[in-house]
């Protein structure tokens, strides 16, 4: 057997190359620049610059794309408008994420532990803090994650998808573990996330192997052709398909594959939670979308029970459990599980409208999510000596926030209303598109369940609004909570607020883009 080296068209890969290249450079800079303060600035500037340039390159490619797109590396990667749109979305989330990573409290604290390798509570940790160490590795790690996610949305080969999956997952496991405060919780979260992530990778890999066994193909297109030709459904093929999808549903955080979500969201440093919640979900939804609509489309009937069951379970469980949460990060985590259910509703009818609906949904959801967590980073406890302490994540501590900081509380209310899908916020447009896709496919029973779940979910979103605006600060607790002013986090809040409003009121331009992107280059579902 001779090994033929494929000719690679590098040009369509430029955005990903920029991000991954900058990540590699960032790792190098870690070793070169000794002064923590300088290193932090350099890493931040490098990250933002790389992400912006990559986004610019992706936009340029979108504008100059001829025909439907380009197939790269013998069909392992496909760069079409669908993938470019997702890449831009993930880059946007990456930019917001980097801004949050770099934000510091007015006491000059970042969200990350100064020395990740130190044992929590040990002498090392104290020394590292006193000496002003900075954990700036998160910037290159985040770039690796972004690059992996971009790849994840563009890959059209089951084996290569696994590579992309690991490229974006491994950095996230580390980033979850490096919280500055409550470090043991952070470590535990990381371990849980890692174990369940490995579990889901195994699921995925086994499924991909089964697919290969059943079809002799590893590319989406190759499997798709066999699937179309197979008259009777091959059990091997179907099992493989289900396991591959289950692997992706883990990343999406849908019930019953959600159990890592609340712990990872709560334990991770909040900027990481923000980035992870928005970007991982987008990447997972994009990959799922591409696989379902290229490869498994003709299996629609056989698979729809899976989507229906998981969607309903996610919406119901996410909503019901969120109702009883007392920690704001956990509440948002369960809300994200419910949103995973809404995302799956769009798949419910197997209508090709989902191709334009899901990018819209994920953007509206992701922007509000990042905004909400950015607000969380700024509501702080006050320590006994009067300085600003850790985040005040207990719901009760948010009482009366509307009086303390109308901007933050108003922004949070807007994000919550967007989650709830109230018109004139982005969330409504997202839900409208997702539900339209499902109704177009005839799944109106699923949509009915989804709207009832939305109505129930309003209950816990509104509970926080009640706390912030309708409840007075408890007697004697006026001093216990402090609103921090870190300019970068503020900027993220304001930018996401603007985006939520713009996408809610004049979303036409973005819907146009999503409609343009609703064509897959290969195996177009039709």
């Amino acid at each position: 057997m001779t090994f033929v080296t494929p000719t690679i068209e590098w040009a369509p890969l430029i955005p990903m190359m920029i991000v991954l290249g900058a990540a590699a450079l960032g790792v190098l800079l870690e070793a070169i620049i000794r002064n923590p303060a300088t290193r932090r600035v350099v890493q931040f500037v490098l990250s933002i610059a790389a992400l912006l340039v990559a986004a610019g390159a992706a936009v340029l490619q979108w504008a100059t794309l001829e025909g439907a797109g380009t197939i790269v590396m013998n069909g392992m990667i496909t760069v079409d408008r669908q993938s470019l749109l997702w890449q831009i979305i993930i880059l946007l989330f990456g930019i917001f994420g980097a801004m949050l990573f770099a934000s510091r409290t007015s006491a000059g604290e970042s969200a990350f532990t100064p020395l990740g390798a130190s044992v929590p509570g040990s002498q090392d940790e104290t020394i590292a803090r006193r000496k002003g160490f900075e954990l700036t590795e998160v910037f290159p790690l985040a770039l690796f994650a972004v690059g992996g996610m971009m790849l994840f949305t563009s890959v059209t080969d089951f084996i290569f998808l696994f590579v992309a999956l690991e490229v974006f997952s491994l950095p996230l496991y580390i980033m979850v573990a490096v919280s500055r405060r409550r470090r043991l919780l952070s470590h535990e979260a990381s371990l849980k996330y890692f174990l369940l992530g490995a579990f889901s990778s195994a699921f995925y890999l086994f499924g991909a192997a089964l697919l290969y066994g059943a079809t002799g193909q590893s590319s989406y297109e190759g499997v798709a052709l066999v699937v179309q030709q197979t008259a009777s459904t091959d059990p091997l093929l179907l099992t493989g398909a289900v396991m591959v999808i289950v692997g992706l549903l883990f990343k999406l955080g849908a019930v019953p594959f959600h159990s890592w979500t609340p712990d990872a969201y709560q334990g991770a440093p909040t900027p990481v939670t923000a980035f992870m919640a928005a970007a991982t979900k987008a990447a997972a939804a994009a990959a799922l979308l591409r696989i379902v609509y290229t490869t498994f489309y003709t299996l629609g009937w056989e698979l729809s029970w899976l989507f229906w069951a998981v969607a309903i379970a996610s919406m119901v469980l996410g909503t019901v459990v969120a109702l009883v949460q007392t920690d704001i990060k956990r509440m948002l985590a369960y809300s994200s599980i419910a949103h995973a259910g809404f995302i799956l509703v769009a798949f419910g009818g197997f209508s090709s409208q989902a191709l334009s609906a899901l990018p819209v949904y994920l953007v509206t959801y992701g922007v509000a999510t990042i905004g909400a967590f950015a607000v969380v980073t700024q509501v702080r406890e006050r320590t006994e000596d009067g300085s600003i302490g850790g985040e005040a994540t207990r719901l009760g501590q948010w009482a009366g926030l509307g009086k303390r900081s109308p901007l933050l509380a108003g922004a949070m209310a807007l994000f919550l209303l967007s989650f709830a899908g109230i018109p004139l916020t982005a969330g409504f447009i997202g839900k409208f598109q997702a539900f339209s896709a499902a109704i177009d496919g005839g799944a109106w029973v699923l949509v009915l369940i989804a709207v009832l779940a939305s109505a129930a979910s309003v209950f816990f979103y509104v509970r926080l609004i009640i706390l912030m605006f309708f409840t007075d600060v408890p007697e004697g607790a006026e001093e216990a909570v402090e609103v921090d002013h870190s300019p970068l986090a503020r900027a993220v809040v304001v930018l996401t607020m603007i985006l939520v409003l713009v996408l809610g009121i004049v979303p036409g331009w973005f819907l146009d883009a999503a409609n343009n992107a609703a064509v897959l280059l290969i195996g177009v579902a039709g």
């Binding site: 709830a420 109230i422 018109p423 709207v451 009832l452 109505a455 009640i466 309708f470």
Partner: protein, 497 residues
């Protein structure tokens, strides 16, 4: 042509933004600024009213159609026919009065600013709902309006305000979201395209029977919750009891009309066959609302709850008129929507005046006020009489039109509903008797007489009710043609099917 409708929507919204943007030092005059905005709004609406072509009251006038989100088929399409016009007029009349009625309610300037800005914001949405000619736009306004209202109930008002606000929001959202399913499904039944949500494009669609009925029900449920009809009315008394009187007056007098307005202009027009199919059951629920509301009103101890139950009863009569599908009954229902707004709005305002004097809404805390404050008593009596439909005051003529018009179609229902009208005399007069007659209660000897400001709130409404009571033709001329159109849509297809 001057874009009256867009300006009417935008002006209060701008007003709200201005109030919030004011620096703290300039907030001493927020009330004057707010009332200024509503006054300009009122003048604009009056000019529009004068320019409205009465002979073509059935067509949508001042129409504007701009592309909004063509990708999902929705446009910024506005227009009013006679019914929409009457509702807009009602909204612009009652908003400044609500502000005036609550003039002294807040000492805290920040709180006052928030309250007034939210009132203005709700006014923008109210007007928007009544002039929308696009189902999506209607839906957006319908849902977005909940937010200012939610804050109005939850931030200002009595002890139970948080509970009431959540109850209101959840009830409205469940209805609204189910309606959303209907809205999307309707789009797929219609012609689609960049103007696929335009009401005109959705009229006369050839549905399959089941589809039409399901979509009709999705819409109707949302409107029944809003209008409050038995058995989905339970949110209203709780809200009325705890929210500020100004909020409640606007809510019951104007916003709840969206329910009946939607039934009239969307349910009947878009789904005529399904409306006929559902009419018998809906009429039964309407009659139950009439009687149930009236009976519960008699039993109430709290005046605000009492008035809200009377409204449930009156909304039952409107729904009865709408679903009797008769020319006179529909005209009467549309007229009643306007008159009920005047009458109930006024009733809430005077109850508010009483509460401001006593610090309590309980009837048993009052007594014998007639001797102390005769003008207040007289005002209350006249407004009360309008609520029980005394001839000479405008609600009378509309109630008669509904009952007489519907008699030909559903005599048994009308017979029962008439009992409700009789019960109205009991709850109003008994309330008057307990509050104003008998020995003067302790601590009420020095009760203040109706002030000039309060007279400015109550008397214009009484004047309007007298005017329309003696010359109902002024209003009916605007409502006859739209009613004819609706009746013809509902009955033409009857011959066909």
């Amino acid at each position: 042509m001057f874009p009256f409708l867009t300006v009417l929507i935008a002006l209060p919204a701008v007003g709200a933004a201005v109030l919030w943007a004011l620096p703290a030092s300039a907030r001493g005059r927020v009330r004057e600024i707010a009332i200024g905005f509503t006054a300009v709004e009122l003048i604009l609406a009056a000019v529009m009213f004068l320019q409205f072509d009465r002979d073509a009251a059935g067509t949508f006038q001042f129409a504007e159609t701009h592309s909004w989100i063509p990708q999902i088929g929705t446009s910024w399409a506005l227009g009013v026919n006679g019914i929409g016009l009457s509702m807009v007029i009602l909204a612009v009349i009652l908003t400044p009065l609500a502000i005036l009625a609550g003039w002294r309610e807040d000492r805290d300037v920040k709180k006052r600013t928030n309250y007034l800005a939210l009132i203005l914001l709700s006014q923008a949405f109210m007007v928007g709902i009544f002039v929308a000619r696009d189902v999506f736009l209607f839906y957006v306004m319908f849902e977005a309006m909940l937010i200012p209202l939610y804050f109005l109930i939850g931030m200002f008002g009595g002890l139970q305000r948080r509970y009431a606000a959540v109850k209101f929001l959840i009830f409205s959202l469940v209805g609204g979201l189910i309606m959303l399913v209907g809205v999307i499904a309707l789009y797929f039944q219609g012609p689609g395209g960049p103007q696929g949500f335009l009401t005109d494009n959705l009229t006369g669609i050839d549905f399959s029977t089941t589809t039409e009925r399901l979509i009709f029900l999705a819409f109707f449920l949302a409107f029944a919750i809003k209008a409050p009809m038995f058995p989905v009315h339970t949110w209203l008394p709780d809200v009325a009891e705890t929210a500020r009187v100004g909020t409640t007056a606007l809510l019951v007098a104007v916003l709840d009309k969206i329910g009946t307005f939607g039934m009239l202009t969307l349910c009947l027009v878009l789904f005529p066959d399904a409306a006929r199919w559902a009419a018998p059951v809906i009429i039964v629920f309407a009659v139950i609302s009439v009687l149930y509301g009236a009976l519960l009103a008699i039993g109430q101890e709290n005046m605000l709850r009492l008035v809200s139950f009377t409204s449930i009863s009156h909304f039952g009569i409107m729904v009865l008129g709408i679903f009797a599908f008769q020319q006179t009954s529909i005209e009467g229902a549309a007229l009643y929507m306007f008159n009920h707004g005047l009458s109930t709005g006024a009733l809430f305002f005077v109850v508010g005046f009483l509460i401001a004097r006593r610090g309590s809404a309980n009837i048993s805390d009052f007594g014998g006020l007639q001797k102390v404050v005769p003008v207040l008593a007289g005002t209350f009596l006249i407004i009360g009489m309008s609520a029980l439909a005394l001839p000479g005051l405008s609600p009378f003529i509309s109630e008669i039109m509904v009952l007489v018009g519907a008699w030909g179609a559903v005599p048994v229902a009308v017979a029962f509903a008439t009992v409700g009208v009789v019960l109205a005399a009991v709850y109003i007069l008994w309330m008057y008797q307990r509050v104003f007659t008998g020995p003067t209660a302790k601590g009420l000897k020095k009760t203040r007489e109706l002030t000039l400001r309060e007279r400015l709130v109550a008397w214009p409404l009484i004047g309007l009710m007298l005017l329309l009571g003696f010359f109902p033709a002024i209003a009916i001329n605007y409502l006859r043609e739209p009613a004819q159109d609706i009746v013809s849509i509902v009955s033409v297809e009857e011959a066909g099917s």
